[in-house]
């Protein structure tokens, strides 16, 4: 008697889960989309090396989440910034943990990006047709390091202050536009309270926004082009390049002239 009732229960739960999912799927196709994203075909000889990319993504998500929560208690003003960081670390419940995750996670993010980049380089996974994804990845790396540079000032202690002074002045020594870049970063002729809010806005809004966009593009390209098999694989990686078309153009875009008129 117990078994059929449990089955009945399971069926009930299944229906309860499936009804909203069906509702969503019918209106958005999102279930299919998620399935398409998660259950892609990958080469059979992928290894742990191929997980570095998703590890980097996880590190980014940790940074984003902890950053949002830290922003609720951080006060970006020269008079209050250091104090508020102290409060987060010492007084606010679990603040020490979240701040620690954000602080150490920043290094983890950068390290994982480099490891992921090394994997892609050594596996030759940057080759045709994945060059664009390499370029996007390099942009993500540069923005990630800028994010670290901007975030470093926020605790507003002596290390943060002078490291940022030196960093800004290093930018200032770039030829021609360097001095203007330094003034822009400082928000004026000298480092001051504007510098802190400018770095805060860059760290919180500008760079993360750009990063999220680039990461989505990166993922789109991964899904579109597929995961490459490792160099020792029996399965050939990549795909053949397009052949030269009849009109002499070797391209995918507009291969044949329209309306028979050659330009």
């Amino acid at each position: 008697m117990a078994i059929p009732s449990r089955k009945k229960k399971q069926g009930k739960i299944l229906t309860l889960v499936m009804i909203p999912l069906d509702w969503l799927e019918e209106r958005s196709g999102i279930v299919g989309g998620v399935k398409y994203f998660l259950f892609r075909k990958v080469p059979r000889d992928t290894s742990w090396w191929h997980t570095l990319g998703s590890a980097t993504l996880t590190a980014f998500l940790v940074q984003a989440t902890t950053g949002v929560v830290l922003a609720m208690y951080y006060k970006p003003h020269p008079d209050t910034a250091y104090e508020s960081i102290e409060r987060i670390t010492n007084d606010i419940t679990l603040g020490w943990l979240v701040r620690g995750m954000h602080k150490w996670g920043a290094s983890v993010f950068i390290i994982l990006m480099f490891l992921h980049m090394g994997r892609v380089f050594l596996f030759g996974a940057y080759k045709y047709p994945r060059e664009l994804n390499w370029i996007v990845g390099v942009l993500i790396l540069v923005l990630g390091m800028l994010e670290g540079f901007a975030g470093y000032l926020l605790p507003w202690d002596q290390t943060a202050y002078w490291a940022s002074v030196v960093g800004i002045n290093l930018n200032g020594t770039a030829p021609f536009l360097g001095p203007f870049l330094a003034w822009f970063l400082q928000g004026g002729a000298e480092i001051g309270s504007n510098t802190l809010t400018i770095f805060y806005a860059m760290h919180m809004l500008l760079i993360p926004g750009a990063l999220i966009g680039l990461i989505l593009l990166h993922l789109y390209l991964v899904v579109r082009l597929g995961v490459s098999s490792p160099p020792w694989s029996d399965v050939a990686a990549g795909r053949p390049r397009p052949t030269v078309t009849s009109n002499g153009r070797a391209g995918l875009v507009n291969p044949a002239p329209r309306s028979g008129k050659a330009k």
């Binding site: 020269p78 008079d79 002078w162 002074v165 030196v166 800004i168 002045n169 290093l170 200032g172 020594t173 030829p175 021609f176 360097g178 001095p179 203007f180 330094a182 003034w183 822009f184 400082q186 928000g187 004026g188 002729a189 000298e190 001051g192 309270s193 504007n194 309306s259 008129k261």
Partner: protein, 281 residues
């Protein structure tokens, strides 16, 4: 229009007119090649769809309505984007370069600067900003250059390598004097430097601010000074390549105030033809 926001409202109007006129011209321009010769406002019959069939000579005089709508949407969108984006871009980029000139800083009565002694002076360079604008200058009363013409040396403590604070290497008085001027609290400490040195990367300077060792690219920056009602005022900063002579007899060529690490003389200075301090207001 942006310039007008700073200068005056009539200039805004002129700027808006200019942007509208040029916006219109631009729209006309981008749609020009599809409009070709001026088309009839409404062709009596719908234009044929000869895209695939027509011979090149048979190009219709009228252009398709869809093409016009497509381009005018794009053009209008571009103009709207421009109108919205320009002020935002201006706000993002211009403020650091405008209203940056600071008032001379009141450093208190001249009696606080006895002849021949260095005073480490910390002051608020911008009282509205508060403590974050506290800066340090090393100030020495050189005595009179000639009767009635006083001479002061005011050296900035910002290392010209990458901007760390240089300190006076030498005996330092235990007693600091704190005085209150109308721009805030001022701290004066007597120092007897044999040199100025930077903790970050080992830059070293002699007491005239000339580089003696390490990575700095020229001598320490200085400030102009003025005296009013027997009080010393610290004025605008300027950069110095090299100081010839010392004290009141020093011969100094003034260069526009440049950031740390930026050459002011020699061929490397070609890398910095214009620095922000020359164009900011």
């Amino acid at each position: 229009m942006l310039v007008g926001l700073i200068v005056s409202w009539p200039a805004v109007a002129v700027g808006a007119l200019i942007s509208l006129v040029f916006g219109f011209l631009w729209v006309r321009d981008v749609t020009g090649d599809v409009r070709g010769e001026p088309a009839a406002a409404s062709p009596p019959e719908p234009p044929p769809e000869p895209v695939l069939l027509a011979e090149p000579e048979d190009e219709p005089a009228a252009y398709p309505r869809s093409k016009f709508l497509e381009l005018s949407t794009l053009g209008l969108g571009g103009v709207i984007t421009g109108i919205v984006a320009l002020p935002i871009l201006g706000f993002a980029v211009l403020p650091p370069f405008i209203n940056q000139e600071l008032d001379p800083v009141d450093l208190g009565p001249l009696d606080n600067f006895p002849e021949g002694t260095w005073m480490e002076t910390t002051y608020l360079s911008n009282p509205r900003e508060g403590e974050v604008s506290r800066r340090t200058a090393y100030i020495r009363n050189n005595g009179d250059l000639e009767p009635g013409v006083p001479s002061f040396t005011l050296i900035s403590n910002r290392c010209v390598h990458l901007g760390c604070p240089v300190s006076a290497s030498g005996p330092r008085s235990d007693q600091s004097k704190t005085i209150e001027t109308k721009v805030g609290e001022l701290k004066l400490t007597e120092v007897t430097p044999a040199a100025f040195s930077c903790p970050c990367h080992g830059g070293a300077y002699d007491t005239e601010g000339n580089r003696t060792a390490g990575p700095p690219v020229h001598a320490l920056d200085r400030y102009v000074f003025s005296i009013k009602d027997e009080r010393l005022y610290l004025g605008l900063p300027y950069s110095v390549a090299f100081v010839k002579g010392e004290g009141a007899q020093a011969k100094i060529k003034r260069y526009p105030h440049s950031g740390p690490g930026q050459h002011v003389d020699g061929f490397e200075a070609w890398l910095y033809p214009i620095v922000p301090s020359q164009v900011s207001s």
